[in-house]
Symmetry: C2
Subunit: 339 residues, 2 copies
């Protein structure tokens, strides 16, 4: 495959190597790769489903493959990239290049040296970061967050992830900050995929919403959600399935999204009351698929809980869309390297 790539990307003799960078967003359902230039313009992109079986080396192989495909689309041999950044779930040790306990990835309960593995496979320096943190940084530096110095990124996907920028810099705490999805919005409330009760994610995570939809259908509630899912050839209630059901005024889908919105309003207001942030940027599959009307609904649900309601934070839809995580990962290509 690399032979093919090389032949497709011959540079004019004597031209300096293009200062291109790769970004990989490792998600629970898909691997997204981009190649960007130094103005952060996407020159090539590729996507593959995340393996559901095997272990970390299988996931790493798919990541390398997806990165090669994005490089091919951009017309550059992968080895000519200045570096590749990876946004990963789980506990990321950027210095060691390892990822531990990524529960949504197959067989990834332990620690795996993802950075060194991909650096060896691709032959370029590799840089590791937390998936939501790099997506937040991307929105802050290049997207909806540009006008602000403090913001919260809220990414509603399978789960609900968050990232913080305070005073113009990422706030990581002791390394694990940003878990807006595990703010408690209802003591003793719904069971969260994390095992606890009452977390925001238990109401506003796509995974928890699907679990509840299946439960309610088993108990006799009617909905078009699963017909839409099947018609789209899916086995999961993907964000697009919720969007379509909502557009068709499906009662159960509407109730589940309203419930998510109320929980997001309480959770985001809690964060704003604590930190008095300038802005909140909402992204993730569910946020992006439901779009501006969803952001507007969350904005309305937040205000009643704000301690200073006459000065709400700006609440904005993520601008970089589905590529934000991969573009943000590309921004990592300035830190620790694994050759």
């Amino acid at each position: 495959m690399s032979a093919n790539l090389s032949s497709a990307t011959a540079r004019p003799t004597g031209a300096p190597p293009a200062p291109l960078v790769g970004g990989l967003d490792l998600g629970g359902t898909k691997v997204q790769a981009v190649v960007v230039d130094n103005a952060h313009t996407v020159l090539g992109a590729a996507r593959q489903p995340t393996p559901t079986r095997g272990g970390p080396p299988d996931v790493a192989a798919v990541m390398a493959d997806t990165m090669r495909a994005a490089a091919q689309a951009a017309g550059v041999p992968p080895a000519d990239l200045r570096g590749v950044g990876i946004g990963s779930p789980g506990a990321v040790d950027a210095a060691a290049g390892t990822v531990s306990g990524a529960g949504n990835l197959p067989g990834w309960t332990g620690t795996y040296a993802l950075g060194p593995a991909l650096a060896a496979t691709l032959g370029v320096p590799v840089h590791l970061g937390n998936d939501v943190q790099v997506a937040t940084r991307a929105e802050f530096e290049l997207g909806a967050g540009r006008p602000f110095t403090s913001l919260l990124g809220v990414f509603c996907g399978t789960g609900v992830g968050g990232g913080l920028i305070l005073d113009g810099r990422p706030w990581l705490g002791r390394g694990a900050a940003g878990e807006i999805g595990h703010i408690v919005v209802r003591l003793g409330g719904a069971r969260c995929p994390c095992g606890r009760r009452g977390c925001l994610e238990a109401y506003a995570g796509r995974g928890a919403m699907e679990t509840r939809a299946r439960h309610l259908v088993q108990r006799g509630r009617s909905t078009n959600l699963f017909q839409i899912m099947e018609r789209r050839g899916r086995t999961r209630l993907a964000s697009g399935v919720f969007a379509q059901a909502l557009a068709r005024k499906d009662v159960l889908a509407t109730r589940l999204v309203d419930r998510a919105v109320r929980a997001l309003g309480a959770g985001i207001a809690s964060a704003v009351n604590l930190l008095d942030l300038e802005a909140v940027v909402i992204g993730g599959g569910l946020g992006l698929r439901l779009g501006e009307p969803f952001v507007e609904a969350v904005r309305k649900a937040t205000v009643p809980h704000l301690f200073v309601p006459d000065r709400p934070p700006a609440m904005l839809l993520a601008e970089l869309g589905d590529l934000g995580g991969a573009i943000g990962a590309g921004l990592l290509v300035e830190t620790t390297q694994f050759r």
Copy 2:
């Protein structure tokens, strides 16, 4: 009165003026004043009840009086103080020296120039800050928070206030950060004194706890809380009343405190999940009166909600006790001045 003071504080001829500083903590029920030296040792202290009638000038007069009494106790004329710091509730504009909308103080719905008023009365520079923020700073610089660079101060008094230190500096956001009392711990839950529903303060504020106790007694529940209150000559369920009832295993008092502890566990865990802080310092009247067993109970109630439960933050009782707010106010004597 100042004539008396002067006679009591004659300095040896030729000695430089002592580098003493005043601190005033303006609370809803009491005004606490201290005089400290440059090692922050308390040389004199005085306390008076906050007026329940009149308006801001009446409150300011009591504050000046309390400051004079503390100065007398320290053996220094008030005018010899290097400055006086004030920790105030409400919205504080430190640059203008004004306090607005201090709902727990009589007739203080508008804006009052407290800084300039006290500077004129006392004849010393006056510095203004938010009451909870200065108390947090005091615990960070001089108290239980000294070993840490990031912490949350939680002050359980009539209400529940909070202050944040991030990366060694107070985090104020756009000026109003730290409102841990208005984190939503139960969507649609109990009515909060702020008018909203489900805030932490609705469960863990002494005021809300008293309202609930009165409500439950009206509905026939039995408790010794109000007998203890009367025996202590109080008209309110002060923190000490709860402490005594708890010591006597009063069932209603125990249930109310347990309910407060559960809410504090959820609210503090939410803040820690969002910010991954090193430490939480618990103070305020209720925190100090109930002491270490209360902090231990809150610690236990926090862990089940922590996203990274194997690395909980240190959870500590405030070290500076009832004088913390006033000592923290004294730390302000380095900023804007009002002569």
